[in-house]
Structures are given as C-alpha cells and as structure tokens.
C-alpha cells in the first residue's frame, strides 16, 4: 500500500510542477486573449467544482451560485480599487465613507471576498437549507435574485446599475489556477474524509442518514458555506479579470450555466467538472465565429447571433437525457485508474484478454 501511495504522490507532484511550468510559459508567451480564456476556465472550474460539492456530493440543488459570486466580486472589487478610481466611478452618489479609502492587496481582498460570500451563505443557508429538493432550488434562486436586486439599488455601496469599472486587473494564471487548485484540493480532502461520507449519506437518503445520527443541517451548512467561500473567491477573481462588473453579470442564468457545466461533467466528479468547465469556456470562444458572418470558401454565410447558447443548451439537454452520468459519471481521475486503463489498452493491443477474459470483464459491468 505504502508503495502505491508514494508512486501516486510522486506522479501528482510531477504533474503539478509540469503544470506550473506550463502556466509560467503561458503567462509570458500567450497573448492576452488566450490568457483571458485560460483565466476564465479556472474561474468556471471553481464554480463548477463547488456546485458539485453542494449538489453532486450533498444532494442539495442550490441555484444561488450567481448571488455568492456577486458578493465576492463586489467585495474584491471595492477592496482593490484605489480611492481615485472609486471617486471616478461613484459620480452619481458618493460611496459610503467606510469604503472610500480602503485599498488592499489582492490576496487579502480575495480572502475577504470569500469570507463575505461565506457569511451571506450562512444567512441564506439558515432558512434555505431547511427545505428540500425543488423548494430549495427555488429558495436559493430567489435569494440569488434578491442579492442582485439589492446590489442594483444600493447606489452608495455598489454604484447600482452603473457598476464598477477600472477594477485593477490583478488576476493572472497563477492566481486563478492557483485558487482553482486550492479549491479542488480542499474540496477533495473534505470529500475523502468522514465529512465527505456524511455528505454522501445526506445525498443518498436523508431520512436514513438522520436515523444513523448524521447531523443533517450541520453537514448541509458545511458544504454550502465552504462552497460559497470559494465561489466568492472565484467572483473576486472574475471581477479583477474583466475589470468591469455590474449586477447584470450575475443574473440567475449564470447559475443555470454552472448547473449545466457540472451536470455535463458528471455529478460527483471533480475531474468531470474541471474538464467540462474548460471545454465550455473554450468552445464558447471557439464557436464565436458562427455568430458573425464568415466564409466557407467563397460562400458568405450570415452569422446567427445567439447560436452558441442554443448549441450549449441543446447539448446539455442531450447529456441529461442520454448520457445522464455526464462525461465522467461519478468517477474521479486517479493514477491507479490511469495505469489500469493503460494496462488494459496494452492487453488489447497485444491480443491478450480476448475470449474468456472479455467475458469476465462484461460480467463485471
């Protein structure tokens, strides 16, 4: 056993180092358009993975992600903007004195963003998590929208619909992917611990879990608040990436998109969520040309605006109906799995494992 672990650990460390190297290379060589996409991938990864924690692992269908992202985004933005930028922005009604001269570094701002989102989650979760299933979904959707509407109307704190612009662009690949990796790491540890087993018990059968002594509310709150912390951080990363935010960015359709990504990746799979998030972001950009007029050879095809989202929602529906488990189902990526897969491939190529071997495999499924 010990051997296995150290082999896996070494492999994981090697991959991380390689990845860090790739990030370093990318940050210095790719143009800002590609970098932007890569940063967005990281942000959506955090969104998807945290939703996975709440829904895939704890079985709570929360549609409030957009609201927490908004809290985190505004918190980080207000904390990182300079006093001069704030003054320029709040030209209609001045910002409240408490925030006027605050200017923090990025890391504490991100942490505060996450913290504020977590606090809001505590407040929202208190009432909302007492509900089940569809009711919980509607309540969290309602809370998300209430947060957004409040932000629209609090002119002196958030600048209302005018939004904030000139947010310093601190987000780079190290921050975004670093945060994503930390999120995945923390969540994975949570899921692999006894807490994780309790969460899955809550997901699979609440009544049985309660009968067995699992404190339902406590565990639901745990996953809700932990998720929201990271969603807040992701919101902060987002605002310092696109440097202009307003409440419309956090409308509930964002929550729909996150649900879509997580479902496509496979509920209960962090790997799946990560892959789906990256695919979603990349494909959305790659598909952009079909929305503007383009040429096939000498034929001019008029663009169809809005087509990208149609394709995404159609794909989502397709996955839900036919490929319910998503890309990875409930399975995670693991080195053991990879080696087993490799071995199986080798066997096939070498002609072994046919006949009797095959039969055994089928039965296993």
């Amino acid at each position: 056993m010990k051997n296995f672990l150290s082999r896996n650990r070494i492999l994981t460390w090697i991959t991380l180092v390689l990845f860090a190297g790739f990030l370093f290379y990318a940050q210095n060589h790719y143009n800002s358009y590609i970098l932007r996409i890569m940063n967005l991938c990281a942000v959506y990864t955090i969104f998807a993975v945290t939703f996975n924690l709440i829904f895939g692992y704890t079985g709570q269908f929360s549609l409030g992600h957009a609201g927490f992202a908004a809290v985190g985004a505004y918190a980080a933005a207000l904390l990182t903007m300079t006093a001069a930028q704030k003054e320029a922005n709040f030209f209609l009604k001045p910002i409240i004195p408490l925030l006027a001269n605050v200017e923090w570094h990025f890391l504490p701002s991100l942490l505060m963003a996450g913290l504020m989102a977590a606090v809001v989650a505590l407040i929202v979760g208190g009432p909302a998590l007492r509900l089940r299933g569809d009711y919980l979904a509607m309540a969290t959707l309602g809370f998300g929208e209430i947060i957004r509407v409040v932000f629209v109307n609090l002119q002196t704190v958030t600048n209302g619909s005018l939004g904030l612009k000139g947010i310093p662009e601190f987000t780079n690949l190290y921050w975004s992917w670093g945060a994503a990796l930390v999120t995945i790491f923390v969540l994975k540890r949570l899921v692999d611990s006894s807490y994780g087993r309790a969460l899955r018990a809550v997901r699979d059968d609440e009544v049985a879990a309660e009968a067995l002594g699992v404190r339902l509310f406590y565990h639901k709150m745990l996953s809700f608040v932990v998720s929201s912390f990271f969603v807040g951080v992701a919101g902060g990363l987002l605002s310092n990436l696109i440097s202009t935010i307003d409440p419309k960015v956090f409308i509930f359709t964002l929550s729909y998109q996150i649900v879509g990504i997580a479902v496509m990746g496979g509920m209960g799979s962090m790997t799946g969520s990560t892959i789906a998030a990256c695919l979603y972001t990349v494909f959305l950009e790659v598909l952009r040309p079909i929305e503007s007029p383009f040429n096939i050879g000498s034929l001019q095809v008029p663009g169809i605006p809005g087509m990208r989202m149609v394709l995404f929602s159609a794909l989502l529906l397709f996955v839900i109906l036919f490929y319910q488990k998503g890309i990875l189902g409930g399975r995670e990526f693991s080195w053991d799995g990879l080696f087993a897969f490799g071995k199986k491939m080798m066997n096939r190529i070498q002609g072994r494992g046919t006949g009797g071997g095959e039969a055994v495999e089928e039965v296993e499924q």
Binding site: P127, L131, D134, A139, G142, Y256, G260, P305, L317
Partner: protein
Amino acid sequence: MTLSLFFQHLANGISLGSLYALIAIGYTMVYGILRLINFAHGDIVMLAAYIAFYGAGIFMLPWWISFPVAILLTALLGVLIERSAYRPLREVPRIQLFTSAVAVSFLLENLGIVVFGGRPKAFQRPAFMDVTIRIGGANVISYTFVIIGVSLILFAGLLYVVKYTKVGVAMRALSKDIETTGLMGVNTDRIISIAFAIGSGLAAVGGILQAIKFPQINPLMGVMPGLKAFIAAVLGGIGNITGAMIGGFLLGIAEILIVAFFPNLAGYRDAFSFSILILLLLFKPTGIMGEVEPEKV
C-alpha cells in the same frame, strides 16, 4: 391616494393576478402529478405569444383564428416537451427531472433569441380590447375585463373538468399516488399528457393575454412571469388548483399595491415577490390551501 386611483390599482392588480393565476395552474397541475417544477413553463408562455404574433403578422389571420391556433399549438408543444424531455426520466431521481426542466427552459429561451431575434416586437391588440372606459374616475381599458372574464370562465371550466369528468378524477388520483393509480388501470402516460396539454393551453392563454396587456414581446418575456406564477402556486398551496388561482390573484394585487403605496421601493419589486416566496417556504410551505404531505420513507 384617491379612491379612484386605488381602484385603478386594484383593477390593474386583478388583471395582473389573473395572468399569474393562469400560468400558476399549469405549474400546479404538473407538480401535483409529477412532483416536478416545470421550469420551462414560463417559456411556453413566451412561445404562445410569438405564435399568435406570427399568426397575425405573417399569415394575416384575424385574432379570433390566430389566438385559438396559438393555444392549440402551444398545448401540443407542451405535450411534446413532456414526451421528449420528461417522460424518459420518470424512473430516475427527481433531481434529474428538475435539471432537465432547467435545460429545456434554457434551450427555449436561446432558441427564441435565435429564431425570433433579440429585439422586442409589437403585439397588436384587437380593437375591441383597446377601448378606454371610465369607471368612477378611473381609466380602465377594456382588455382588463376580457382578461378577468376569460380567466374566470376557464377556471370554472377547469374545476368542472377536475371534479366531474373521468379525466379529472384520474388526474386527482395520479396526484395522490401515481404508482397505485397506474396499477388500477389508468393510462398514466395519457393522463399526464392531457394534464400537460391543459396546463400548457392555459399558459398559452396567459401568454396571449399578457401580450395584450403589455404589447411588447421578447424571447425572455416569460421568465419573470413564470417565476412569479410559481410563487403564486406555492402561495396557494402547490398541487392545488384552486389554491393556484387564489395565489395568483393575491400575488398580483400585492405586487401592484406594494409598489403603489411605496413608489420609492419600486426598484425592489421583484425582490418582494421572492421574499414572499422564501417566507412562505420557511413558514408555510403548504401555502394557503395545501395539505401537508407525509414523507414516505
């Protein structure tokens, strides 16, 4: 506030409430039987309005043809959605069903944007619905009466169907216990389709009436009314048709009156409705007329 102004608001609230009620009935019927919140319901409302619009605009049909056609087509569409997106998922955990509803809703909205274009279109009000009538100092447009009248007739008709016809009894039985009713020889699939058809048809009426009341249609016009209608259904007790009607009226009137008495809070209008929802879900999830459902273990 003068009395006549109050009556104006009241009339407005009642007509808005009728719209919510019509849409809420569809939610509640589907929920009663399938325990599914049909997220796509609001978008059905939008589709009906557009079909009626194109019927009048492209095919030059007079309103008394294009409206019924729109209602029929929308009802069929509702059945189609049920068959393709919800029926295959009946044996699966409810949450998948819900996700499917979200996906359908998203798809319909985006399809609407692509097919109909993102620009709002003008809906033609039939002439007789555009007459201004003065009642006691308040201006009421004739469509208000049409909306209220049509809604009441439809409600009465629906209640009759649910109470006294075989189909209605079957629907009520299905909402009580879907498995047993199926075992009793009721064609579950057919009744569910009928329920969807009726629900969608009523939503279609709501959509057309909404387009008459607010003659500007756009692909996202069904989203907020859909959510508000859901709140109305919960308010009245989800699963209960009479409750949906009452909830719809109450919500419509409350929404109008709150903003009328506190115009400075007009920007928080949607937040009010959602707050009502959350308070309901917390303190009286069964709503006004709902029955507490024991949870099966």
